[in-house]
Symmetry: C2
Subunit: 129 residues, 2 copies
């Protein structure tokens, strides 16, 4: 990618998922920052996809083993850990906690949809994992 070695230039106009096309009349520094933001967003999307794959596997495993779908202790530990990581990363810990809640809400939505679909794979599941 030429952008990777020419960060001060605007990202080229292109469609597709390799970058969010933008006009070429913006300052090069702004284009460089936006390109980094686009790269980070792509990484976030792929990581989120991987996370939901894992939570679905957790749901299947818990259903198979007859384990309870929720684990409040696990969620408490997750929140505490994410707040600590956020502090280290210079991210607002309150936002980190809101972020986890946002993700968990989606996991619950998945599981509700699965239940309405007759409980087909992945059956059950743990919203907090």
């Amino acid at each position: 990618m030429t952008d990777a070695i020419r960060p001060a230039e605007p990202a080229p106009e292109h469609g597709g998922a390799s970058g969010a096309a933008q006009p070429t009349d913006i300052p090069p520094e702004l284009a460089r920052l936006r390109h980094s933001i686009d790269n980070i967003d792509a990484a976030l999307v792929y990581l989120l996809a991987e996370r939901f794959k894992a939570t679905k596997q957790v749901g299947v495993l818990k259903a198979q083993r007859g384990l309870p779908p929720s684990d409040p202790g696990r969620e408490v530990r997750q929140v505490a850990r994410l707040r600590e990581l956020a502090d280290q990363a210079d991210l607002d810990p309150v936002f980190a906690e809101k972020f986890l809640a946002f993700i968990v809400e989606e996991v619950i939505r998945h599981h509700e949809a699965i239940a309405q679909d007759g409980g087909r794979e992945p059956a059950g599941g743990d919203a907090t994992t």
Copy 2:
């Protein structure tokens, strides 16, 4: 990390940010999945911190150059791109769009807090970047 090469074993009980401590009486496969989820969450936290660093830089740059804080065209392109990336990653595109909205809401919150604080650095900013 020994967990990385012994994925079938429960993550060790430990405090701190290197992993969310969990009881040792859970199935090894569940512990392995939870450990992956914890790793992904750490990566997400660090990426989000980096993203907010970039959006703050965008805010400073726009204030310095007298550029308008919002750019509706940019947001439209971001949404379209994230939905396409989500489709490729097997992530619900609707969720990807909700995720971007969730992040943008936080950027706006940052900028409002800055404005209430007298507009100190980073002044202004672009919620969508």
